[in-house]
Symmetry: C2
Subunit: 137 residues, 2 copies
DNA sequence: ATCAATACGTTATAGCATAACATCGCCGCA
DNA sequence: TGCGGCGATGTTATGCTATAACGTATTGAT
């Protein structure tokens, strides 16, 4: 399970609550999912969640999945990855696998250099079914 | 400009209107952008747009950009591409460049084979600034 | 004490997407 | 000719996602 993450100590209360919710979740959560989970802690408005998420994503402690409009905790316990990250998202169980591939990064870097494009950020998301779900079917 | 696309002849009226709007647009359009463009043609409801978009995307005549919640016409005039497509989206002018890279496709295929993941579809979107916009700055 | 920077709380609003239901037109087939 | 299936259409209502705009509170340095 994802229960034993080492959380940075300098998070604000809201940031800590949101990251905690993501860490305990077995699948990506939307901002509104998180809000519902944290109403018992006194949070009431979407903006409280979005502001915390902004900071967490900025620091690499969480990631936004564009194709899902949802968020996950970073799978890298301490030092969050630099560079390009790919996400494999299972449509069956919701599990998200996070990995980096230097060759892909290099190919995209080459393409950018050749075309004169200045990359700010890249999202790569694979949708499908994980091995476990395939076995179960 | 994108004015001279060969449009399939078997599109319905709504599908044709929507694809036309995308073909003439210099940048990705949201479903609501398209709706506003087509009110003069009698379209009134978001669903009319979304239904047409579903068909167009299904046939590869248009693409959905997940990181933008918007749509573009496929840049491949006739035979839309098979396989993995990457999109480079300029934050300055909105231009979208569509390209395929067999090496990246192979790397992702390898990863999937190794982990037993069955890929249904992949989205790859690069955000940044195109050469032209960089020159202008 | 003053000031700037950052986080927080609240209300309202904007933007994106689908559910549910009725209707229409086309085509194949008795 | 009439029936039945199917896909596209039209309409209303609703739900989900995200941000604007405002004010207050906390922190921490000078
Ligand atoms: Zn990560
Ligand atoms: Zn699974
Ligand atoms: Zn295309
Ligand atoms: Zn540009």
């Amino acid at each position: 399970m994802a229960h034993d993450h080492a959380m940075p100590t300098d998070l604000t209360r809201n940031q800590g609550l949101v990251l905690g919710a993501l860490n305990h979740a077995p699948a990506p959560l939307s901002a509104y999912d998180i809000l519902d989970l944290l109403r018992s802690e006194g949070l009431r408005a979407p903006l409280q969640i979005y502001r915390a998420l902004d900071k967490l994503v900025e620091r690499g402690l969480a990631h936004r999945l564009e194709s899902l409009n949802a968020f996950v905790a970073c799978a890298d316990e301490h030092c969050h990855r630099k560079g390009l990250i790919a996400f494999a998202i299972c449509e069956g169980c919701g599990k998200v696998d996070e990995f980096a591939d230097p060759v892909i990064e290099e190919r995209l870097g080459n393409w950018a250099r050749e075309t004169g494009f200045k990359t700010e950020r890249t999202t790569m998301e694979i949708r499908g079914r994980c091995a476990e779900c395939l076995k179960a079917a």
